[in-house]
Point group: C2
Chain length 406, copies 2
C-alpha cells in the first residue's frame, strides 16, 4: 500500500469542486460537490443522535437507491431542527444539483455542517449549483476539502493505492470536524464530523457497507474533541468500479485487502480530526490494553479521551495521571484496579494500581510537553485492546465556543 | 421547616473543628473533625468509580459498625492509588483520632480530597490530632466547612429545623467540591465531592440509609461541574437521636417528614457545588419534563448538563440552543424529536422539534447574561421530570486545571 496525493479525486473517475455560496458570513468556501463519472455503489454511516439533521434523514432515504453519482455538501449551516421545511430544503439541495448533472435526486447524497436551528439559505445554494457542476475537476479535491470546513484550521485529505490481483485500487478521502466531535455512527440506516471516501474498487453495495462499518469502528468512532455528539455526523463512501478488479462480493481475501486499505485511510483521517480539534495545541492517543473484551477496551479508552480534567492537564503539560485513573474507573467496565499499569510516554506512573517505584514527575513532563502525547493503560485483565484519539483542552477552546453563533 | 445557622453543628450534640496541618502547600486549613457527643447511627454513600480511594475503602468497612461518633477529613491529598500503604494510612488516620477521643477506630469514618497518587502525609496529620480533638466546639462548623475545601472559593453549609410531633429535629450539613464533580454515589456499600450531614433525629441505621439514598438521587447525583467522576466522592450522615423524637424505624409519616428535610438540605448543598464549580461565572439549572420515566428524564438532564459546547455558550451569553438539542438527542433515551420544546428562561426556542415561530435570539440573550440560567426541555413523551445542575465553562476553568498539581 502506498500513500498518494489527490484526496477524493485520487481514485479513477472522481471529480470534485468547491466554491463560495455566501452561506458563511466569512469569505470562505462553503459549498462542495463530489461526482463519479459512472454510477457508483454507496454506503453511509450516520449519527445515532435522536435528533437527526434534515440532510441525514434525506441521505438515509436516498441510500436505498442502488447507485449514486454525487454528494453535495454545505458548511456554515447544519440544517438541523428546521422541521419539515429543513427536510424539503435538503431534498431540494440534492435535486437541484442532480438536475444540472442529468441525474435523479435519489442518486445524489447530501450533507450539511454548521449552526443548528437556522433555516438553510437554499436560494444561495441554488444560485451556485451551475458553477458548482461546471467547476467539477479531477484536480478539485482541494477545493472540495476546503469547502466542507467549519472551525477546522486545515484541510483533511488522504489517499492510498494498492494492488489487488492485476488491478490497482485507490481509496481517497476528505473529512472535516473540529468541534461537537464525539461521533458514534452506525451504518444501520442511521458525527458534526463529515467524511467522504471514494474508491475505484469494484465491490457490491452490501459488502461496501460491511467494510465501512468495520472501518469507522476503529477510526472516526474513536475520536473525541469535546464529548458532544452531533446531529449531523455522516460518513459516505462511493465505489465506482473503475479499477477493474474482480468485483468483491463476499468477505474474501480481496475484501480483507480492501478493508485494510479503508481502515488505514479512515484511521489517518480520524487522527487529523483530533489533531485539529478546536483550540488544540496537542494530539493525544489513549491506548488501552489488557481488557476482557474489545468493547471494554474501547469504553475505557473513549472515557479517558473525554476527561476535561486530563485534557486541561495535558494543555498545561502537567503529568497529572490521577485523572487518567479516575476516568478509567468511571468507564463502567469491570477490571481489577489493583492490577492496572499506566504509562505516560515511556514513563511508568502507575504499577499494579499504585504509584510506580521511582516514578518521577519530572521524567514524565517532557512527554506532556511534546506535540504528541501517548498514554497507555494496561488493565491486565484480558487480551483486548483499543485506541482513542483526542486533543488537549485549551483556553482557546472556550474562546471559540463562547463566541460561535453570535 | 425553617432554615437555621450552624451548619454541621446545628443539630444537638455535634461538635466540629478544623485547622492547618500543612498538607496543602498554601496556608489554608486542611484537616477537620466532626464529633457527636453520644453514639450515632451512620450511613454513607460512595463513588461508583472502579478506582476507590483508600479512605473510601476504610469508611465502607467501618460503616459495618453499629454506631459512630466521628468523621476525620483532610483536604490537599486524596489518598488514592497509594496501594496498601494508602489503606493503612487511612486506617491510621481514623485510629489516631479515635484514640484521642477514647473511641475505637471503627467508630470513626474517614474522608480525603485532593491530588491523586501522592502518599498521604500521615505524620503531619498525626502531629495535629491532639489540637484537632482539643478544638472541638459547637461553634466549629465554620472551620470544619473551611478545612474540607480544595479549589472551592466559598464554604458550603446549610441547616434546617422542623417539628416532628413534640420534638424539634435539626439537620445540618457541609460539603465541598468544585472540580472532578460528576458524582454517582450509591449507598450500596460503595464524588471528589464530600458531604457531611448531621442530625439529632432518632432513626434506625437501616432507615437512615434509605433516606440518604433517596436524598442523594435528586441532589448530589444530579450535579456536574466537569463530567469527571472522582475516586473519592463520599457523603456521610450521622444521626445521634438527641432530638428525642419517637425513633423512626420504618417508612412512615415521620420518615417522610425527615426525608423531605434531608432532601431539601441535600438539594441546597448540591446547588452550592454547581454554583462554585471551578471557574464558574454562572449557575445553570436544566429542567427536563415529559420523559417516559424518571430515569430517562434524569439521563437527558444530566447529559445536557455535561455539554462542554453548551457550557461555553453560556459562558459567552450565547443562546446557542442547538447544542441543547444535540445533547438531549445523545442521551441514549427514546423520545420523539418532532415533539420537543426548549425554553431558554422564558423564551421558547424550539417548538415541536423545530425553531419556534417568532423566536428571537435577542430576547433569549438577557436570560443567558444573568448569573442564573434556566433551561427547560419538554420531551412531551410522558409525565416524568428531573433537574440537573451545572455551571458555565470558562477560560478560568482551563487555567485552574492546567496548573493544578504543579
Amino acid at each position: 500500500m502506498i500513500i498518494v496525493k489527490g484526496g477524493v479525486t485520487a481514485p479513477e473517475g472522481f471529480l470534485a469542486s468547491g466554491l463560495r455560496a455566501g452561506i458563511k458570513k466569512s469569505a470562505k468556501l462553503d459549498l462542495a460537490l463530489l461526482y463519479s463519472e459512472v454510477p457508483a455503489v454507496a454506503a453511509g454511516a450516520f449519527t445515532t443522535n435522536r435528533f437527526q439533521a434534515s440532510p441525514v434523514r434525506i441521505s438515509r432515504t436516498h441510500l436505498k437507491n442502488k447507485t449514486h453519482q454525487a454528494v453535495i455538501v454545505n458548511s456554515g449551516n447544519a440544517n438541523c431542527a428546521n422541521g419539515m421545511a429543513g427536510d424539503r430544503a435538503a431534498w431540494e439541495m440534492a435535486c437541484s444539483a442532480a438536475a444540472k448533472m442529468g441525474l435523479s435526486g435519489r442518486e445524489v447524497l447530501v450533507a450539511s455542517t454548521g449552526i443548528i436551528g437556522v433555516p438553510l439559505p437554499l436560494a444561495k445554494i441554488k444560485a451556485k449549483v451551475t458553477d458548482l457542476v461546471g467547476g467539477l475537476s479531477a484536480r478539485g479535491a482541494g477545493d472540495f476539502a476546503e469547502s466542507i470546513l467549519t472551525t477546522d484550521t486545515v484541510r483533511k485529505e488522504f489517499a492510498v493505492k494498492f494492488k489487488m490481483a492485476r488491478s490497482i485500487v485507490s481509496i481517497g478521502g476528505a473529512c472535516k470536524g473540529a468541534g461537537m466531535i464525539h461521533p458514534d455512527m452506525k451504518t444501520e440506516k442511521h458525527a458534526t464530523m463529515l467524511a467522504f471516501i471514494t474508491t475505484d474498487a469494484a465491490i457490491s453495495k452490501k459488502v461496501l457497507e460491511a467494510a465501512l462499518e468495520e472501518a469507522i469502528a476503529d477510526s472516526f468512532n474513536m475520536v473525541s474533541v469535546d464529548g458532544d455528539m452531533s446531529t449531523n455526523d455522516s460518513c459516505f463512501i462511493l465505489a465506482n468500479g473503475l479499477a477493474g478488479n474482480k468485483k468483491i462480493e463476499k468477505r474474501n481475501g480481496d475484501y480483507k485487502k480492501f478493508t485494510d486499505g479503508l481502515k488505514f485511510l479512515a484511521g489517518e483521517l480520524a487522527r487529523m480530526l483530533a489533531r485539529d480539534g478546536e483550540g488544540a495545541t496537542k494530539f493525544v492517543e489513549i491506548q488501552v490494553a489488557g481488557a476482557k473484551t474489545k468493547e471494554d477496551a474501547g469504553k475505557v479508552a473513549r472515557k479517558i479521551s473525554t476527561s476535561n480534567l486530563l485534557k486541561c492537564a495535558i494543555f498545561g503539560a502537567d503529568p497529572n495521571w490521577g485523572r487518567i485513573v479516575a476516568s478509567a474507573g468511571a468507564a463502567g467496565v469491570e477490571f481489577d484496579p489493583g492490577k492496572v499499569d499506566v504509562l505516560l510516554g515511556g514513563v511508568k506512573a502507575l504499577s499494579n494500581g499504585a504509584i510506580a517505584k521511582n516514578y518521577d514527575k519530572e521524567k514524565a513532563r517532557p512527554f506532556f510537553k511534546g506535540k504528541d502525547v501517548t498514554i497507555r493503560v494496561d488493565l491486565k485483565s484480558g487480551d483486548a485492546s483499543a485506541r482513542a484519539w483526542t486533543c488537549d483542552f485549551s483556553k482557546e477552546y472556550v474562546a471559540i465556543n463562547s463566541e460561535y453563533s453570535t
